[in-house]
């Protein structure tokens, strides 16, 4: 009779449900547009440090006059200058006029068309002072060696008493981006899962679905489907972020392990998503109408928001006890640990412990979420109490 039909294996049922979610939600216009917008934003954010920080080209500077050799030595030592030495001050001035160079230093004057940038000015000024001292010392009859000895200054050594106490803007920025992306990538699918569960329940389609699917297939497929959609979004963002950083040459400037942190973020996300996603499905099944789903989701949304706020706080104090605790205790660790790893070195045992705890919590959530779902998905009417759902026989 239905011999054309292959036996629907357990995995096939799971994958069919996941596939439907991906087709209907992932390929929906809304999702594609939001992905595009997010990717563009991430790309711009990743390009921002190089746009602000400025990897601009070497400044072309002309030199002439008595101090020229000393100036050249000073400026070359600083780097970032393309130096041309002219025979006379007039020649140097003309070079500025026809824009062969941006600025020229000759006989105690700085020639430019309309001034030079702050940074360039500071450097040139410093070089001028050092070169003048050098010239004056030579005029006073000191040998080159004596001058070199007099001018050699050991730079200040920076000693920080708290390890990792000082962080560059870049570290902070990376951590911030990771925490924002994690938060978004958890919040959106978690709400979609709950909405999807309630949709199936309120439209009663779940009754037909359950004649050919087991509850775990239905919930699991939904979580996997939305997980794949979010993972594609996350991978796209991480790839664009890292790609733009690499293209603008910023990747090398990032703190060591940033790329690894970005990649391991996906691992943290997987565990956090398993935790929040299955719980969202479970609590979503407690209600029968879409407008009631907000109330049962509140605890999940709250802990997600707290995780995010905690991670932002942690960025300012990555070595505090609070940061350590937050990045180890699930479910907060899901966002806090990858954020902390981006901004500071985290002892391996803490990373390991955090991962194990989060994985265990995810497994627990999987069991709890699917039990809740199984017991309450066919119950219709007013909102079911959590305790009642747990008491009910499946």
């Amino acid at each position: 009779m239905s011999n054309q039909s292959a036996e629907t294996s357990r995995m096939r049922g799971l994958m069919l449900v996941a596939g439907r979610e991906i087709r209907v939600r992932g390929l929906s216009k809304a999702n594609l547009v939001s992905l595009l917008v997010t990717v563009v934003i991430v790309g711009v954010l990743a390009a921002l440090p190089s746009l602000i920080g400025g990897n601009e080209e070497d400044a072309a500077i002309g030199l002439a006059g008595e101090n020229a050799p000393a100036m050249q030595a000073q400026l070359e030592a600083m780097g970032g200058f393309d130096i041309t030495v002219y025979d006379t001050a007039d020649e140097a001035e003309r070079a500025v006029e026809d824009e062969t160079v941006e600025a020229a230093v000759a006989d105690g004057s700085l020639y430019s068309l309309d001034g030079v940038g702050n940074e360039v000015e500071t450097k040139i000024d410093a070089a001028w002072q050092a070169a003048s001292v050098q010239t004056n010392l030579a005029n006073a009859g000191l040998s080159d060696q004596e001058i070199a000895g007099a001018l050699t200054v050991e730079p200040l050594e920076f000693v920080t008493l708290e390890s990792g106490g000082v962080h560059s803007t870049l570290d902070y920025f990376t951590g911030l981006v990771i925490s924002i992306i994690m938060f978004m990538m958890l919040m959106t699918p978690v709400q979609y899962i709950a909405m999807g569960v309630v949709e199936e329940k309120s439209s009663r389609i779940v009754e037909i679905l359950l004649t050919s699917l087991k509850p775990w297939q239905l919930l699991g497929g939904k979580v996997i489907g939305l997980g794949v959609i979010s993972l594609v979004n996350l991978v796209a963002m991480v790839a664009v972020g890292l790609g733009v950083s690499a293209a603008t040459g910023m990747l090398g400037d990032l703190p060591p392990g940033t790329a690894a942190a970005a990649v391991s973020t996906i691992g943290w996300w997987l565990m956090a998503f398993a935790l929040f996603g299955t719980l969202a499905g479970g609590v979503g099944s407690l209600v029968s109408r879409q407008e009631e789903s907000g109330s049962v989701l509140t605890p999940l949304i709250m802990s997600l928001t707290l995780s995010y706020l905690g991670a932002i706080f942690l960025l300012n104090a990555p070595t505090s006890t609070f940061a350590e605790v937050l990045s180890i205790v699930p479910p907060f660790s899901g966002i806090a640990m990858p954020t902390r790893m981006a901004i500071t070195e985290v002892p391996a045992w803490q990373v390991g412990l955090s991962a194990v705890l989060l994985a265990a919590a995810a497994a627990g959530a999987l069991a709890l979420g699917s039990q809740l779902y199984k017991r309450s998905v066919l119950y219709t009417g007013s909102r079911m109490k959590l305790t009642e759902a747990l008491r009910r026989a499946a």
Binding site: M1, S2, T8, L16, R20, R23, V24, S203, I208, S212
Partner: protein, 289 residues
Amino acid sequence: MLEIKDLHKRFGDTVALDGVSLSAAPGEVVGFVGANGAGKTTTMRIAMGVLAADSGEIVYNGAPLGVEQRRRFGYMPSERGLYPKMKTGEQVAYFGELHGMSKAAAKRSAAELLEQLDLSERMGDFVQDLSLGNQQRVQLAVSLVHDPEVLILDEPFSGLDPIAVDVMGTALKDRAAAGAPVIFSSHQLDLIERLCDSVVIIGNGRIIASGTVEELKAKEVKQLRISVEAAEDLTALLPGTVTRDGDDYLIEDGDDQEALRVASSAGRVTRFAYDQPTIAEIFREAVTR
């Protein structure tokens, strides 16, 4: 052969089913009749495995019904449900796949069914954009897409327009003719009478009557109806308990031959027959007994 055996189910203090048994042989169309809350939906949900019975079992072809066999059943729940934001053709095919069909076969079958249901042009539309009547047709397609071996339909005719009722009736008859047991519930007793080989009447969680339509009718108290063109009143002359229904005489517990003699001697007998009760009358009789 699908057998539902001795189902018991309680919801809290309420006894929903109290030993419900019924069966459908291959090719048999069974009508499941009962007042609201009598236990029809609960019985069908248990048969489809979406609800667990406290006790009792479902036997299919001599063995307890398993998940794989049940997947080849067609089911229409009393509360209809479809994904509102999924395209019609895609949705019907999706259910075909869930029931174990290959992707291509499910697609083909969905297209054929929607063609039969006059919905070919709406295949690319979201279900939420269809009229309620068309959504009902899609629901029907969902329950038939996998060419089911057994049909269990809860109120399949409710909310259908006359054309869809015909389509549904034909579909049931076709499935039965192909050898499938068909069980459906309905409050439209004329449909039950027209479509069903046998009828099961449930009340308060118990089966109160069952059998073929003829058997049930034969079991009912027979009333002899006589129309006579006679000037005088025959009430006192006719045998048994006599009542009047308009100009007709209705006789219970009387010797019919004696009655015929009395009537024909009084005037011209224009009607002499036993009343056939309708299923509706049997149902009313059964549930008020």
